[in-house]
Point group: C2
Chain length 144, copies 2
């Protein structure tokens, strides 16, 4: 059984984060001492690891909570988790496409600009393009 500081250090997060996760209903301490100190056992640490790694895979904390809820349900199947993973992967790919569109738009501007390298700003094709009816190739409906 580890105190909050020990548990936090063990998994390289802050004690404040642990308290925050608790407030968000993600990770309750295994128990409390008489004085109210939080204590975490190895199950709690495994759960914390799950939270951390799911975050690293792009899940928000509320999505992590959903995943944890699935694990808490009777008769939950592997496939239930897998579906969430697939959905998240689609979201990631959507975002990647949006970023790539931005990057491509910039590339084009950067290349065109290379020609007039030392020209004054009035001739800058980047500025001109951004001021005019220019648009990023799009794909970037930011909604989900």
């Amino acid at each position: 059984m580890l105190t909050i500081g020990e548990a936090a250090q063990r998994l390289a997060v802050s004690a404040d984060s642990l308290r925050y996760y608790e407030k968000q209903g993600l990770l309750a301490p295994t128990e409390r001492t008489g004085a109210g100190y939080r204590l975490y056992d190895s199950d709690a640490l495994r759960r914390l690891n799950f939270i951390k790694h799911a975050q690293q895979c792009g899940f928000s904390l509320s999505e992590v909570r959903e995943l944890l809820d699935i694990q808490g349900r009777e008769g939950a199947r592997c496939e239930d988790v897998r579906r969430h993973a697939i959905e998240k992967k689609l979201q990631l790919e959507h975002k990647i496409r949006a970023l790539r569109a931005m990057s491509a738009a910039l590339s084009e501007l950067i290349d065109v600009c290379l020609a007039q390298n030392d020209k004054p700003l009035e001739a800058c094709p980047i500025v001109a393009a951004l001021e005019a009816g220019f648009a990023v190739p799009s794909q970037s409906e930011e909604s989900s």
Copy 2:
């Protein structure tokens, strides 16, 4: 000269956004009527277009302000803007790599999981991987 509502509609943003940009020092109205109404001319609209498109290219509002500051400076060169564009493109590519790493990590989990499709959750390799000392291939130092 357009009122705030007309200008906003013309460029498909909200009037609140225009007031927000003004507060952020990005776009001042050309002038005010006696009653205090904001009025925008075509130069202001061009500036607003610049803001919108720069945002679509991934620049934050404070970065857009930097770009606008460059345009306001005497003797600014095209290259000054170009440098910012290149820097932003690098940031975008960095972020894309981070997202791809997440996506790849998920892919692997999803594939492994396919095998035990209908198994109970205890056997789920996704859960197991996230609980254990698993790590996203990384590249994902989120800082800049």
